[in-house]
Homo-oligomer: 271 residues x 2
Amino acid sequence: MADQWPECVSRVKGVILDMCGVLYDSGEGGGVPIEGSVEAVRRLKSSDLQLRFCTNETQATREKFVAKLQRMGFDIDVREVFSPAPAVVSVLKERCLRPHLLVHDDLLPEFDGVDKSDPNCVVIGDAADNFSYQNMNAAFHVLISLDKPLLFSMGRGRYYKETDGLKLDVGVYMKALEYACDLEAEVVGKPAPMFFQSVLNDMGIQPHEALMIGDDLVNDVGGAQRCGMKGLQVRTGKYRPSDETHPTVTADGYVDNLACAVDAILEHRRV
Amino acid sequence: MADQWPECVSRVKGVILDMCGVLYDSGEGGGVPIEGSVEAVRRLKSSDLQLRFCTNETQATREKFVAKLQRMGFDIDVREVFSPAPAVVSVLKERCLRPHLLVHDDLLPEFDGVDKSDPNCVVIGDAADNFSYQNMNAAFHVLISLDKPLLFSMGRGRYYKETDGLKLDVGVYMKALEYACDLEAEVVGKPAPMFFQSVLNDMGIQPHEALMIGDDLVNDVGGAQRCGMKGLQVRTGKYRPSDETHPTVTADGYVDNLACAVDAILEHRRV
């Protein structure tokens, strides 16, 4: 069935690309593009398909992150990129919440306009080395002191791949704080349906008209499918062979990399 | 019902005491005894009841830990104390396992005789500041590289109380690694039934003849009750008022502190 995936493409009007593990592998010096991905993005942009980028990246502001991708050669604009920090800032403002932040230093500017005094919730992102025992305790103390502890997690990934190996992602620390405080975090970012929906709204298309391509079977592919979209998994980034026999999530198709996916999509649409 | 708890004491032949939060509050300089506890232990020892101590403490070897309690004035011997590190060392040797350790530096001597080369499992304890992002990733890499990832957790507590506030306990990091690797840890220490059973075996008594006294409702009281023992909660240490309306665990009795518990036990046995 997976080999027939390009047939679903005929109805597709928009493509959503995950970034890390699909466009590039992260690591020292910002990372390296995955072979063929720069050209694949260019080809999608030249087609009649709409294109957006959807990332759970929270180690830099969206501006700095996009600038890095541009330096790698990608044709990409900040307005095409959806990431959790601007989404969580909207939620905080809507609900009059003042966050205690446990995030990467380079993400802090996203929260410049947010009141952080006398915090009444905790926001965590992919804080990497900032996930020290001391900082985890500080976040825990804020939560445990609240009548109704409220934790926002920017994504719920288990791990991601850097050039020097797999690294623990924010979801792991979300689970840690959930257990410590006996609560359930609100996830902002993939796979939250609201997050995918905001991308669909921006393109002005229906879920069945959209195709998500990612390296994270559960959060990219499974998350998109639960919203009614199609989901492809690339065999790059954090992909592991066991993903193809996952007990609960089956991608609409598996492809070696983004370049192969774009080949098949564009080929099928010409037929 | 909770007020009638001393009635169950008539059948009791042995008392098991949790240590941190019952005997003393931990913190800078080793901590301070809880008022009345030194004398309470002395009175229990002078009675016809057997007495054992059962801790999930993994920040020091059992010898150093007991020496600290002795300096606080407690009449206590290493042979009366059950802690997770010697228990996990037995399990490792029985099953020919070679651990990667993520533990407190001061616990390392407990593992001196254990082969730690080419690890085929991970053992975590209350590592405190050693729970850095880097060390968590190192443990994760060992687990994710194994065909059958195997994680031992010395306890599953959420947090404990030090003199300067609550601190995250090993269970929180156990949950983090469980989620990262999609596995379930084997808990050694409270509330594992095998651990409680080893204490009962040492006293040569049946579960219904034993009374556990602890400040941790779920792991001390609930754990003991699941083994058929009675469980009292003291209102010291990590006790919180909401414990008395916990949805799944109800102690056989709640007492202000160990001294009050011992008063009631000895008073009731005289009647």
